[in-house]
Symmetry: C2
Subunit: 511 residues, 2 copies
């Protein structure tokens, strides 16, 4: 009595249509956002962030960005590269920032409205290594990057791509060619662009237009790609990040302004203090984008956690991480923008710690009504590895959360009076019409969880969910079929990439 597969119907023609379709593609938050600060507390954090920008300022390494700020009236000290930004500039930037951003995708069914109330997930990202039970831990390469893309593409619950594993075998000046080609040849979801300098960003955008046959107007009709802008906390924006803010804004593509504030290390040790810094930096980046191109698509970003004060290592899924997440949601709502949060795990392997850390982050993000939760599946070692077995187990958690967010019918039929009447005291409901009408699609069917009893589990080899996940990801990769939108993409990009490669590629910008 197979109810359905936990992942979406795959494209292979021999796949049986699941009896219940998994409606994970567009999700909304059904639960009210929670809070850790009073309304005054949120206003005070916002006010102190504005004061920090106006009185202390932020160091901005890119001269062009300083000029943009100076032209708008900010106080710029060219010797120190410090920019002091008045509250009026921030206020105007928040006024021109859109509240709702259309995220385009090669497959129109995968478009997203990036706006408050939406609930999206992206995979563990930025990982220099991958780890799986068959091949162990190894530096990310193009093969593993493409494998992780296939895994991500195979689950509707992952809405937006991310730089899951870093293809370190590709030279940095050519890597963006493979990043963009791989994304568009293997997936039809919204795309990610690294802000690694002016040339790489513009070439990445050119590749999108070329691959999907988009003219200038269509490229600007919503955002086809997003980048994550990480400030160098505390109070610094480096050259490639400032370029990314300006270039993505002018191209009409989404920048998510995300300070990575580790309380006790690069940020004050208190929850409220770390959020003052995060808020100031995010507002500075948002202001730069709006000055560069008023109305540019931007999102607020919060990825704050604590460090372990014994080792100095970043910690994730901790009480501080959860409080910072819920507080970040309050700040995002205070300024009215959509926002990204992050789950993740510090654990070094796919164990109970890893599962617990990820669940803590996911639940906190949900309680904070995060628009996008990054690192939601597969992130291990604080981001140093993308774990295949963890990815599968995390996807299970994401799917369960999405199912929990579906509406609960409360109509008279659902209340089940007839079923109650049909079953005698001490009996069971298996055979009632009420059950027979619904059993096929009543409940979530697990992807990797094993609900069988102890004897059956022993007979099946006593496998842990981590061990079973090895079978699952192998099967997913084996079943993978490229999306329809990928057809012809490689051909359309071939000349462009060959020409640019011969011309020396585009080295990433330092500093």
């Amino acid at each position: 009595m197979s109810i359905r597969t936990g992942r979406r119907a795959r494209h292979s023609p021999d796949t049986k249509t699941p009896l219940r379709s998994a409606a994970y593609q567009q999700l909304r938050h059904p639960f009210a956002p929670q809070q850790v600060f009073s309304e005054d507390g949120v206003a005070n954090i916002h006010a102190m962030a504005l004061r920090a920008l106006a009185e202390l300022g932020i160091k901005i390494l890119l001269p062009e960005a300083r000029q943009i700020f100076a032209k708008a009236g900010a106080l710029v000290d060219e010797d120190t590269q410090m920019v002091r930004i008045g509250a009026d500039l921030v206020s105007e930037a928040l006024r021109t920032s859109p509240r709702s951003i259309r995220m385009r995708a090669a497959n129109p069914a995968r478009e997203q409205m990036f706006e408050p109330g939406a609930m999206m997930f992206s995979p563990g990202s930025g990982c220099p290594n991958t780890i799986d039970a068959l091949r162990g831990r190894r530096p990310g390469n193009l093969e593993s990057y493409q494998e992780t893309l296939k895994l991500v593409q195979s689950f509707d619950i992952i809405h937006i791509l991310g730089p899951s594993a870093e293809p370190q075998d590709i030279a940095p000046h050519l890597r963006h060619y493979d990043l963009m080609r791989s994304q568009m040849c293997l997936s039809d979801k919204p795309l990610f662009i690294y802000a690694r300098g002016r040339a790489q960003v513009s070439e990445s955008l050119e590749m999108i237009a070329l691959a999907h046959g988009l003219d200038e107007a269509e490229m600007r009709n919503g955002s086809w790609a997003y980048s994550v802008i990480n400030t160098n906390s505390p109070r610094q924006i480096d050259i490639p990040m400032a370029m990314g803010i300006i270039d993505m804004a002018r191209a009409g593509q989404l920048s998510i302004m995300t300070p990575f504030c580790l309380a006790g290390a690069m940020a004050p040790i208190t929850i409220s203090g770390a959020l003052v810094l995060q808020h100031a930096e995010a507002l500075a980046a948002i202001t730069l984008a709006q000055l560069a191109a008023p109305g540019a698509p931007v999102a607020y970003g919060g990825f704050a956690s604590n460090v372990d004060m014994k080792s100095g290592s970043p910690a994730f899924g901790t009480p501080a991480h959860m409080k910072l997440t819920i507080g970040s949601g309050q700040l995002a709502r205070y300024i009215g923008l959509p926002w990204r949060s992050a789950a993740g795990a510090a654990s070094n392997t796919a164990d109970m710690q890893a599962a617990g850390e990820n669940h803590m982050g996911l639940w906190a993000a949900m309680q904070a009504n995060a628009t996008l939760t990054i690192h939601s599946a597969g992130w291990l070692e604080g981001g140093l590895s993308f774990g295949y077995e963890k990815f599968i187990n995390d996807v299970e958690g994401l799917q369960q959360l999405a199912e929990m967010c579906s509406p609960v019918p409360e109509d008279t039929e659902s209340l089940g009076w007839d079923a109650l009447q049909d079953v005698d005291p001490g009996g069971h409901f298996f055979a009632t019409q009420h059950t027979m009408d619904r059993y096929r699609d009543a409940f979530y069917e697990p992807l990797v969880a094993d609900l069988s009893n102890h004897g059956a589990w022993i007979d099946a080899g006593s496998k842990t969910s981590t061990q079973r996940a090895t079978d699952v990801w192998q099967q997913v990769l084996q079943d993978y079929v490229p999306p329809a939108s990928a057809k012809g993409v490689a051909d359309r990009l071939a000349d462009y990439i060959e020409t640019r490669t011969k011309a020396g590629g585009a080295p990433p910008t330092d500093g």
Copy 2:
């Protein structure tokens, strides 16, 4: 730089005083309760439950209980043992049910107010087996029961005792002597009594009075013990459970009325339908208690999940479980009573599945503002095993949730203006005065989570959190020291137990 231990300061004199005390003993819900039903939906479920009790009735196997109902005006059919209960009786019972119950404990610091807004946890309970990495899976016995009591006693985050592992090596007619003696000799937390018949309940209460030197008035000054009343869903209350309701009520001890409604099996397959049944049964049990002793301490109980429609096995931590939990919270608030929920796991071993299932249940219970969450640590195989390694990992999760629920300071000092001023762009906060003043107790220090980097983790043996938990529980058992309140308890109970044992004990009541 050890900040503190995750568990409370132990009694051994050589234990260093932790720099930060873990204030887990009395917790309150800081987050607003969430909802899955509209207000009308909740009212409709309540109304249909009342209709079920009035029109369909509930089968009550104990003649005395039927007489109590008949005397109060319920319609009793002695042939079918069916009792039809009018809404007026239920309404009066809800009126006389207390909203706040003082849970006494041998250690006054461990008293709890069992009332809406409080947040308590009890361990995985009712497990016929135990499992740990050193000794494998084996039937519960007195030794393992006492070990689990020591584990439970050692963590403040577990507020109330439960029948963690069943001591199957003790004959059923003598088992309650060891259950009560073990609890009071090894712990100073609120006690659990099994409702296994009239004699066992009364003897258990006599043992409490004897062990702690309580007179009748003091025994009734709050509840020294609680029992969980499980109905035989659908719509049936068996003889020992009905006896338990009556006897605990008359003794002024807490009964938690908990239908165990598995949607699709012993309850309708829909969320709302399963809750109609749960609600009707809980209201019937509450009404019986109030008729037996108006004002008796009772709590609403909800432990509803779904079955796996493939295998028929109970599932836990599922989307249905979470929706049922949040819905149960709405129903409990509708009638204004404190209530118990449950976490738990269907997984057969301490793996990512087990961690995920437990976190789902815990978060749902928190979002539902459950007063008491049972099975919050150690429950495996849907309750067939108490797992030591899982217990330790689950305690970590509980402690993290409790830490997340602590208030976030938002005063000016916490906002950290001075620290922001002190640190140059791109610098770090490790050495600021703001950090130095707070680093000792800023963050939760893990119990079993390993936050070290990959190299250090490899050097330490590449242990999973499940493997590390083996070390932790062994250390906890080694460090265990009985509470002060245990002194003399065994002596004070010796004659009583010896006399009763010679007299044949008290066989549990069947049926």
